[in-house]
């Protein structure tokens, strides 16, 4: 069975693994012990102690925080119950004018702000840009991911979560 050291997984996750080695990993059979190794890599990366249950974005994790399961930023900021859309607790910056769109697209033809706006969802504590939506004005904010956390741990990982 394929398996890699935690150091290799850490370098892979941070984009630091040399390309030939990354490429071999991409071409090889998958390492079935990846999930918990990757969680351990992320756990080392964060300064807080709540056990990570699932990464959901580049710097967002669902973690066990006391009796609760919450979405937490790498910086520690909590976005509340993981079943709720974390974006609703984020800070937002909307680009819906030619001037603000031009800041991101200085040399390109722009969308029409009457047809499309760029919404930036930002961690209110550390300022990390967690997600960008390109949407028509008035379009409801998307709830990107509602994981079946219990089903995943029980049926796929064979390690049911404590209720």
């Amino acid at each position: 069975m394929t398996s890699y050291s935690k150091e290799i997984i850490r370098d892979l996750a941070s984009g630091q693994l040399p390309w030939p080695q990354t490429r071999r990993i991409m071409s090889a059979y998958k390492d079935d012990d990846r999930f918990f190794k990757m969680v351990a890599v992320y756990q080392d990366r964060v300064a807080w102690n709540d056990p990570i249950l699932l990464p959901v974005s580049d710097h967002l994790f669902i973690c066990q925080s006391g009796d609760e399961r919450i979405t937490r930023c790498e910086c520690g900021h909590s976005f509340g119950d993981y079943r709720k859309n974390w974006k609703l607790k984020a800070a937002i910056h909307v680009r819906n004018t030619e001037e603000t769109l031009r800041e991101i697209y200085p040399n390109s033809d722009l969308p029409d702000p009457e047809w499309m706006e760029i919404r930036e969802f930002i961690c209110p504590q550390c300022g990390t840009l967690h997600e960008v939506e390109a949407a028509a004005p008035g379009y409801p904010i998307v709830h990107d991911f509602e994981p079946d956390l219990e089903g995943f741990y029980r049926d796929w990982l064979g390690k049911p979560l404590q209720p």
């Binding site: 892979l12 984009g15 999930f35 040399n107 390109a134």
Partner: protein, 734 residues
């Protein structure tokens, strides 16, 4: 009557029985045990590898028969081997989107009584390019031949080429001006086009008299038939070695194994749950010549997707909430939507093991009836359905990628495909003859970023994993235009920690013709039709077309003065305008104008992919390299990425790390200062929603989605705490 079917049962009954067995057992054709695989796994694998080799070599051989640069250069072809019921067992590389659409075509013939009339006999050749029967669009012409072994139907061999000219209202393959079926070009509707391994002369005559450039289509037919016969003979040889019973059993086990492998791979690579995303497509034709006033000239469509991964490993994709079909060329049939799903799966999950229709069986598409994903009217045009497919399956790739990131397989996460707008052309060639073709350098767009590295520059396209832009010299042989530039478009990849792959722009001088019609297809307007992921920005995909009529380029060249080879990086004034005199044209959206003539200049740029991750985390050293090599402007490096560049001794950009760290800290602060809590934003926006204070096209989009989907209506109403129906469809019955 069919000559001795495999079982005593007629083919139609056999197909229905196979579907019944799948429903009852959950396994393909009721194959609950992989008995041959269990007996001898090595032999099982070897046999499948042989079948795959038959397909790959048949396609390579056929590409050398074709006259079309689309097939020869870019590889716009795929071949596959099917069961008697029309399920794909093995396939070649190439435009794999069609493996499953051909399956639909074979099943359609079986279900429509082709056994009785026109009959299915050894040596017959059937062709189809009707998307409601089974293809994506008119230029995707497919040929299948039955495989008989000692008088018994034991399978089918099939091949598809994308034709560069389809004989529609506008020249080229993707007929952008088609607004109904009747203007899309030459239809071949599940037709027997040959017998005894020979294409009928009257069919060829029909092609010759209804196409602008019949040599492509007709030689492609010959190439496809040759590849089918080659695969057929290989399969017959194989059966003579392993026996008919073994063939009939093993071919089904391959498919069931493919189905199980897909489910297992989903359980291995993803996380169960519900994933959501969306993208948009805008179309702007007001005032452009040729469009009939059948629908709104300008419109905006939403493409929402909800993907569910069950704990059984099944992937379901639901398009509820999208728009109704319209009088334009961008509708898609369920066959096309299936094909898009299939080709995406082959790239992201089925990169090893037995790739066949089994993978498709482990998935489900929910395509709401009456929408542009599943029109309830078979007269609608689907000539450029990639305009829907590429953005939609780009969303699918982002949804899948979210699941790969969650599972820890970051190296598989990929921000996805983008639309790759095409150029279609026709008129008088440089040889003084009538001509028509599609330019296929579009098959090398920029890809979305990965979660661990930048996207591929000019090397990816969603419909064909074997991306290729073709050689300039070959394109120049085929069209009355010569290249005066082909270069990377700076900043064309979406910004992010990892940027999207960049695209390229071509600039041509129209040459040796007095009548060249140029049209573009699959070109989204006024909105980005892609997205970024995990903080990455979408790629800028609203490029306008720039052309110069009656240019002075020959005078400039005679004087040895500088020309312009690309539009440049000033969005307000192009380098063409700066350097070349003439009548300058800037067109938003699809390019449809009066014919060009020699001395005119035309440029067209392709799309890059979306970015991944927070732009302020991008590696400054890589960014300096990007600036040096023209992938990024200094302006973008500074203002978007927050990277301070200075010049080294030789004038090359060098990242100033300390200054960059400071600048980025300031930018983060600035970000927070400008942002407001989402709750406040929602409260402030609500007034605008209640007044429906939007552009007419946006209002229309909401009204249409609300009319078609109670879920969209509920979600919209719940989110904004309004009654969406009374705002957008007042007076309509609930």
């Amino acid at each position: 009557m069919l000559d001795k079917p495999a079982s005593a049962m007629r083919l139609r009954e056999r197909l229905l029985d196979s579907e019944r067995l799948m429903d009852e057992t959950g396994c393909y054709d009721g194959i609950t045990e992989l008995s041959l695989r269990n007996q001898d796994p090595l032999k099982f694998e070897t046999l499948h590898t042989k079948l795959r080799a038959y397909c790959v070599s048949a396609r390579e051989m056929a590409r050398r028969i074709s006259a079309s640069p689309g097939v020869r250069e870019v590889g716009e072809m795929v071949v596959a081997i099917y069961t008697p019921e029309g399920d794909a067992i093995a396939l070649s590389n190439g435009i794999m989107v069609h493996v499953h659409t051909m399956s639909r075509f074979i099943k359609w013939m079986i279900k429509n009584g082709y056994e009785d009339n026109p009959r299915i006999r050894e040596g017959d050749i059937f062709a189809n390019n009707d998307a409601f029967i089974g293809t994506v669009q008119v230029p995707d012409v497919m040929d299948v031949v039955p495989i008989f072994y000692e008088g018994t139907l034991v399978g089918w061999a099939g091949a598809v080429c994308h034709e560069l000219e389809a004989g529609g209202i506008t020249p080229g393959g993707d007929v952008c001006l088609a607004q109904e079926r009747f203007t899309e070009g030459l239809f071949v509707c599940a037709e027997k086009i040959g017998e005894n391994d020979e294409i009928r002369r009257d069919y060829v005559i029909r092609c010759e008299r209804n196409l602008r450039m019949p040599i492509y289509w007709v030689l492609d037919e010959k190439a496809k038939v040759a590849s089918c016969i080659d695969m057929r003979e290989s399969v017959k040889q194989l059966i003579s070695e392993i026996g008919l019973d073994c063939w009939m059993q093993v071919s089904k086990e391959f498919i069931e194994e493919g189905r199980r492998a897909q489910l297992a791979r989903t359980r291995q690579l993803t996380v169960p749950g519900i994933y959501r995303g969306h993208t948009f497509y805008g179309h702007v034709t007001a005032g452009k010549p040729g469009f009939q006033p059948l629908g709104d000239p300008d419109w905006l469509y939403n493409i929402p997707i909800e993907m569910e991964i069950g704990t059984d490993g099944k992937i379901t994709m639901d398009f509820e909430g999208t728009q109704p079909w319209g009088y334009h060329s961008m509708n898609c049939t369920p066959a096309g939507m299936d094909g898009g799903m299939f080709v995406t799966l082959t790239q992201h999950m089925n990169f090893e093991g037995l790739v066949n229709d089994g993978a498709w069986m482990a998935t489900e598409l929910k395509l709401p009836h009456g929408t542009w994903t599943n029109p309830d009217n078979e007269m609608v045009a689907t000539a450029t359905s990639w305009a829907l497919l590429l953005p939609a399956y780009g969303v699918f790739q982002r949804l899948l990628s979210r699941s790969f990131v969650a599972r820890g397989y970051v190296e598989e996460a990929f921000v996805g495909q983008v639309n790759s707008p095409m150029i279609e052309m026709g008129g008088e060639s440089q040889y003084g003859t009538p001509f028509g073709m599609a330019h296929f350098e579009c098959a090398a767009a920029g890809s979305g970023a990965l979660a661990i590295k930048d996207g591929l520059d000019t090397a990816y396209v969603g419909w064909n994993p074997e991306s290729d832009m073709g050689n300039i010299e070959v394109w120049e042989q085929s069209m009355p235009m010569v290249y005066i530039g082909r270069s990377i478009v700076p900043n064309s990849g979406g910004a992010g920690k990892y940027r999207g792959g960049c695209s390229f722009v071509s600039t041509w001088l129209i040459n040796k013709t007095s009548h060249l019609r140029l049209h573009t297809s699959e070109h989204s307007s006024r909105v980005f039709d892609n997205g970024g992921m995990c903080g990455g920005y979408p790629a800028p995909t609203c490029q306008k077309h720039r052309a110069v009529r009656n240019s002075n380029i020959h005078e400039l060249a005679a004087k040895g003065e500088p020309l312009a080879h690309a539009p440049g990086t000033d969005p307000h004034v192009s380098d063409y305008e700066r350097n070349i005199a003439g009548d300058h044209v800037v067109v938003e959206g699809p390019y449809i104008t009066a014919p060009h003539k020699e001395g005119d200049i035309f440029s067209h740029s392709y799309n890059g992919g979306g970015g991944y991750g927070d732009v302020l985390e991008r590696d400054p050293v890589k960014t300096a390299w990007d600036v040096e090599n023209g992938f990024l402007t200094r302006e973008a490096a500074d203002q978007v990425f927050g990277i301070v560049l200075k010049d080294d001794a030789e004038g090359y950009p060098l990242a100033d790390i300390d200054a960059t760290v400071k600048r980025r800290a300031a930018m983060r602060k600035e970000r927070l200062a400008k942002a407001i809590p989402v709750a406040d934003w929602i409260a402030a926006e609500r007034g605008r929603i209640e007044k429906a204070d939007f552009a007419p096209e946006v209002r229309k989009m909401y009204a249409s989605a609300i009319k078609l989907s109670s879920r969209f209506t509920r979600d919209f109403s719940d989110f904004w705490n309004v009654d969406a129906r009374s705002i957008f469809t007042p007076g309509a019955k609930p």
